[in-house]
Amino acid sequence: MSMERETDELLRLERKPEVFLPADGAMEAPAAEFVPGPYYMSADERIPEVADENSRPDHGMAAVGGVTPSEGTTASQTVVDRRDILRFFSAGALMSATACVRRPAEKIVPHVRQPRDHIPGVPVVYATTCGECAAGCGVLVKTREGRPVKLEGSPEHPISQGGLCGMGQAAVQGLYHPERLKGPHVRHGRRHDPMNWDDVFQQLASALKDKKKIGIFTGGSTGHRHQFFREVLERLGSDASRLYTYEANGLFASVARAHEIAFGQSDLPRCDLKKAQVIVGIGSDFHDVGTSVVYHTKGFAQSQPFRGGSRGTFVQFESHLSLTGSRADIRHVIAPGSETHTALILLRSLYEHRASRGSAAARTQVRRFLESYDKVIAGAYQESGVSRELMDKTAEELLNAPSLVVAGGSASADENSTLLQLVTIMANVLTGAYGSTLMMENGWQPSPVKVGDLGRFLQEAPELDALFVIDSNPVFTVPESWGIRSLLEKIPLLVSVQPFPNEVDQIADISLPAHHYLESWGDEQPVAGFWSARQPAVRPTTDSRQAEDSFLWLLAYMDLSLPYKDYRSWLMDKWRRIYHLVGTRSDFETFFKAVLRRGFVGKPGSRTVGELRDLRSYFRELRPVPRGLILTAPLDSRFQDGRSAHLPVLQEMGDRLTTIAWDSWLALSPETMRKMGLRQNQLVKVRGGEQSFDVAVFPLPGLHAASAVIPRGNGHLNQMSTISYQNGVNPLVAFAKKEDPLSGQPVTASLSVELMATGDWYRLAAMQKQNDIANRSDIVKKVSLTQARKNQHKQVDLDTVPDLYPALEKKEYRWGMSIDLSKCNGCGACMVACSLENNVPQVGREQILLGREMHWIRLDRYFYGPVDQPVVTFQPVMCQHCMHAPCEAVCPVFATTHDPEGLNAMTYNRCVGTRYCANACPYKVRRFNWWTHKWGVIGSKATDRNPRALNPDVTVRTRGVMEKCSFCVGRLRDAKHEAKKEKRTVRDGEVKTACQQTCPADAISFGNLNDPDSQVSRERRDSRAYLMLGGDPEHGHYGLKTLPGVSYLAQVTLEEHPATGFGQRAGNHGHPAAEESHGAHDGD
C-alpha cells in the first residue's frame, strides 16, 4: 500500500466515526452506563462513576494515595436477581394464577453525563488485538452499554481477516469470569488474604528495596511489552536479561531456533498458505494450534478447497489424527516420533528429483548433509513406515506447483523438534518455497519468545530475589519433573500477575490481578513491520490493574518513577517510532487515533536472508525413533496449553475429533485397543514415565498402532478455578525432564509407556455416539474432483420439488445459508461464537453424559473408510430453516412458526415444552431447557459465566422451553432496519450470522436466497449443492422434502489423484471388511 493511500485510508477512517468509534472513548467515557436492558438490572452493577477516576493511574503520580474503587460493595445481597424472581413466579404460578402480584419495581439509571458518541441501546464497536495467544489477530469488540458482549475477527485485519478461533471468541467469557481475583491478595501459608493496592504496593516496594536480582517470567508477545519489562527491570536495578519468556507451544522456539541456525535470523517465516497449491505437512498442526491458526486456516481455505475447477493438495504425515490431518487429502500414518526421519527421506527424494530448486550453494549444503547421514536415511524408511516410491511421488508433487513443507504439532515437542525444522527448511529450500510461500525476507513473523529462556531461567532462578510471573503459567505448562514449582517456591518473593488466577497464584506470595486483554493497552507485531494495537474496550470489571501499570505504580512507590503516567503513554512513545516509520502527513494524534480505530497499521519491511549454512553437525544428536507404545501430549486445539481451560464455553465445545467435552482421554487406535483388550471408557494406568496416572481410553481412528495420545491443557490442580480444577488429567506429569537440546523446549512427546487396565470405568462425555454415517446417503455427500470438475458449470435447482400444495408467496427476502464441507476444518469456532452470541448456556459434563448439550450449532464428525486411514468429514448442523418444516406443524401452541422471510421462528415465551417439535425435527437441532440454567453452576461445578456477558439482544430462555438456531435473527432485524433507514434492501454480505462471521475457513455463507446474485444463491445452484435429507433430486428422489434454507456443498475428494495411493483407498471405501472393522469400533 502506498503512503498516499495509507494516509487517505487513515483520513477515510477518521471520517467514518460509525465504524470504529474513538478509541480512547473507553477511557474517557465511563463504561459504567447501564440502561433499560433486560439483564443489567442488579444493584451490584451500579458502579459509582466517581470513585474510579482517582484509582486509575491516568491522573499521574499525584494520585498515588487515591482510593480504590468501591464497586460491588453496594449490597447486591439485598436485590434478588431478577431471574430468581421470575423463577419464583413461574414455580408459584399455578397457585398464584389469579392472585394480583405486585410487579417488582425496576430502576432506570441514566448517566450523569452522556458519553460521547454513545447512544443507549446501540452497540459501540472497538478494534483491538486478541491477547489469547501470540498470533495477534485483530478483533472487533462489540460493546453494549459499555460492556463487551461479543468478539469478532476484524475483517480488515490481515491476520484474522474477519475470522476468529474458538479461544479468541471465548475471551469475553474470561473477561467476566466470576473467579477472577477481586483485588490483590497476599498469601499467608495456604491462605490468600485480600489487600488493597496501596498496601500491596507499599509492601512490595519495601520488600524490593535493595534487591537487585529481580526477574520477570512472562508469556510470548511480539509487541512492545517485553521491551517495557526490560526497561522496568533495568529501572529496578536488575538486568534486562532477567526477562524470561516462555510459550508452551514449542513451535515458536523450534522454528525460530532452526532459522537462526540455518540462516542466522531468529524469526519465523510466515506461511502464505493461500499461494501454496501443494502442502506437505509432517505432523503439522496449523489447523489445531500452529503459530497463527486463524491466518493459516484462512490461507488454507483460499488455496486448498475446490473452487473454480481446481483444488490444492494437502499431504500429511502424522502419527495420530489431528484436526489438520483430518483435512489432508492424503494422509499417511507414520510411527510416532519418526517425523524427523520422514522429513529426512522427503528431503532425499526432493534432492534427487531433477526439478528440485535451490541455489547451487544451498544444494551443495544439502548434498553434503545427505551424504553424511545416508545410513540414517536408509534406515528411516523402515522406521517411519513410508516407502521410497511414495516419497518420490510426494516430492514430484511438491516440485510441480507452488508448494510448501510444514512441520510441527506434536513433532515440535520432542527432542528432535528443531532438527525436524532444520530438515524442513532444507526441504523448503529445495522446493523453492522461500520467497513464494514462505515469507522470511519480507513479512516474516517475529518470534514471540526468546529461544532458550526456560533453560536460562532454571539456572538463574535459585539466585533471584524476586520474580514476577506475568501472564504465564510455567507451573502447569512445564512438566512437573522440571521442578518449576519448587524452584518458584524457593524464590524469596514471588509475585503473580495474571488476568485469571492459575497455579502460580497458589504459590505466589503476592497475587496482583492483571487486566484481561480487553481492559488493557498494548500492541502486537504479528508480522514484521505490521503493528496491531490493543486498547481497552471496557472499564475494568474487577479491581485489577494492567500488569505494566502495576510496575509503574510500584516504581512510583519505590521513588523510581518512570516519566510516564501509565503504560499507554509509554506505548504512545514507542508508537511515535512507528509513526515515523509509516510516515503519514497527519500529526501523531490523528495517526494514533486512526490506528486505534482501525486496529492496526502496517508498512512491510524487507531484509536479506543469508544462504543456507552447514547443518551437518547438529544432526549428530538425532535421537532414534522410540520403541513401544508412545505417549504424545499435543496441545489441545481448544485451549492450547490449558490457558483457557477455565472457560466453560471452550470445555463444552468438546474436542472436535473425539467430541469429548469436559474431560481428558487417552486416544488409542481401535486396533491397538482390541489387541490390548481395552474398551472405550475403560480406565487405564499409564506407566513408564515419571509419574503414572489414570485416564479413560477412547478409540480414535487414524492413529498409528503405537500411538497413545492425551491432549494437554486439562487436569489443572488450581483450586482457585472451579471450572478447570481436577477436570481431566494432566499428561505432563509423565514426562521426565528432557529438553530439545537446540530450542530448550521441554519434551512432551515420544515417551514410551505401558498401559495397565485398572478395572474401573469412567464415562467420557462424548457428544457424538455414532462415529460413522451408518450408510445414509443424503446427509453427507462427496464428489470426486473429476466429477466436480465435469459438473462445474452445471446448475441444480434444489427448490423445485413436486408439492401437493401451492408454494408460499415469494417475499423480498428468504434467508438461506450454504456450508462448504470442503472448507470446514472442524475447528469449532462457530459453536463458541454461536453460544456467546445467543446466550446458549453451558451445562456441564453430567448433563452432556445424559445427552443434553445445548449447542445451537453442532459439528457432526464422521469417519469413513478403514480405521487406520479414515476420511474425516465435519458437518456443521444448525436449524435448517425448512420451508416445509416438520417441527412447525406439530406445535400445538404456535410457538414455532414460519416467518415470511423463510425463517423458522421460535417463540420461547409461547412454548409450553411438549418437545414435539424436537421429535419431529429430522435434523435434531432443537434444544430443550431441561433446567433453569443458573448462571452460577455448571453441573457439579460451582461457577459459570457472569450474566453481564449475556447478549442483551437475545432472550435468555427459561426452564421448560425449546430453543434453536434463529439464523441470528436479531442481526437480520438490525440490518433490515439499517437498510430501511437508507431506503434500500439489505446488501449481500451486509449481514452475517455469528457462526459465519467467525468461521476462519469461510465455510459458511449466508444471505438472501431470493436475490439470484447473492453468494448463497449462487452456491445453492452449484452442482455440488445438496440439501440434507433431500434425497437425490437428480434421480427424482426428494427425500423428506423439507426444503431447508441451509444447503451444503459436497466435499470434494481426490481419489483419482495421480501421485498417491488415494485411488486404492477410495476402492477400500465401503469395502465390507473395512466397514466391519470400523463398525466394531463404533459398537464400543
Binding site: V35, P36, G37, P38, Y39, R46, P48, E49, V50, R82, L86, R87, F89, S90, A93, L94, S96, A97, C100, V101, R102, R103, P104, A105, E106, K107, I108, V109, P110, H111, V112, R113, Q114, I119, P120, G121, V122, F894, T897, H898, D899, P900, L903, A905, M906, T907, Y908, N909, R910, D953, T955, V956, T958, S966, V969, G970, R973, H977, K980, K981
Partner: protein, 220 residues
C-alpha cells in the same frame, strides 16, 4: 331442596362463563379498542413475565417530582429533546442529569428538586428513576422503528408529528404530572395495532398491514 341446588349450580356456572368472556375494563379512552373477543386466560400473566394485572395507570413514586405536564405540556418541549435516543435506538433513553442541567443551571435554580438535581450532578451520582413502562424480557421493542414508521406516501403512520407518535402509545403525556402507564402493553394490544394499521386497499391489491405480525418480529 335439590331444585335450589341445581339452580345455584347453574347460576355459578353462568357467572363463571361471564367472567371468562368479559372484556377487561378499559378506563382510558384511547383510540385503541379491544376486539370483542379479547379475554383473559390465566396463562397470559404467569408466563415468567413481569407483566401482571397492574398495568394501566401505573405511576410509581419517582426520586424527583418531575412533571411531564410542566415540561412537555406547558413549556412544550418536544419529547425527543430529552429522550433523544428514541429515534436512534431501541430504547428511548432517560435523559442524563447533564441534559437537565442544560436548562436548570439557569432556570428555577432555587427550587428544592433542582437543588437535588444539582447535587446529583456535582457529585456525579446518577438519579435512580423507577421504570414505568416495563415490557417482559422476551419482547424486543424498538423505539426507532416505530418512530420512523411511515406509509407509502411518506407520512408518519402513528401521528402527524413526532410527539403525536410518542403519544400514540404513551398517551397524553403532556397532561400527566408523574409519568403513568397508559397502554396495557399486552400482546393483544400490540397485535391489534399491527393488524389494524393498513395500507389502503387499491384495485389491484388488498389492504396490507404495514407492520408484520410474525412472531419473530418481537420475540427472539
Amino acid at each position: 331442596m335439590l331444585q335450589q341446588f341445581w339452580f345455584l349450580l347453574l347460576l355459578a356456572l353462568s357467572i363463571l362463563v361471564c367472567l371468562v368472556l368479559m372484556p377487561p375494563s378499559t378506563d382510558q379512552s384511547s383510540g385503541y379498542q379491544y376486539k370483542p373477543f379479547i379475554m383473559w386466560t390465566p396463562g397470559d400473566h404467569v408466563n415468567d413475565s413481569t407483566q401482571n394485572e397492574v398495568t394501566y395507570g401505573y405511576h410509581p413514586d419517582q426520586p424527583l417530582p418531575f412533571s411531564h405536564k410542566l415540561h412537555a405540556g406547558d413549556r412544550d418541549i418536544p419529547c425527543q429533546f430529552c429522550h433523544s435516543s428514541a429515534s436512534k435506538s431501541t430504547v428511548a433513553g432517560i435523559p442524563t442529569v447533564e441534559t437537565c442541567m442544560g436548562c436548570h443551571n439557569y432556570v428555577n435554580t432555587d427550587a428544592e428538586p433542582i437543588k437535588q438535581l444539582k447535587e446529583s450532578f456535582d457529585k456525579k451520582k446518577p438519579i435512580e428513576w423507577t421504570r414505568v413502562h416495563n415490557l417482559p424480557h422476551y419482547v424486543r421493542f424498538s423505539h426507532q422503528v416505530h418512530l420512523r414508521a411511515r406509509d407509502s406516501k411518506g407520512e408518519l403512520l402513528l401521528g402527524k408529528t413526532a410527539d403525536e407518535v410518542c403519544m400514540a402509545c404513551h398517551g397524553p403525556v403532556k397532561e400527566m404530572t408523574t409519568a403513568s402507564q397508559y397502554a396495557p402493553l399486552q400482546m393483544g394490544w400490540c397485535v391489534d395495532c399491527h393488524n389494524r394499521i393498513r395500507e389502503p386497499a387499491t384495485e389491484s391489491k388488498a389492504a396490507v398491514p404495514f407492520a408484520p405480525v410474525n412472531c419473530n418480529v418481537c420475540h427472539y
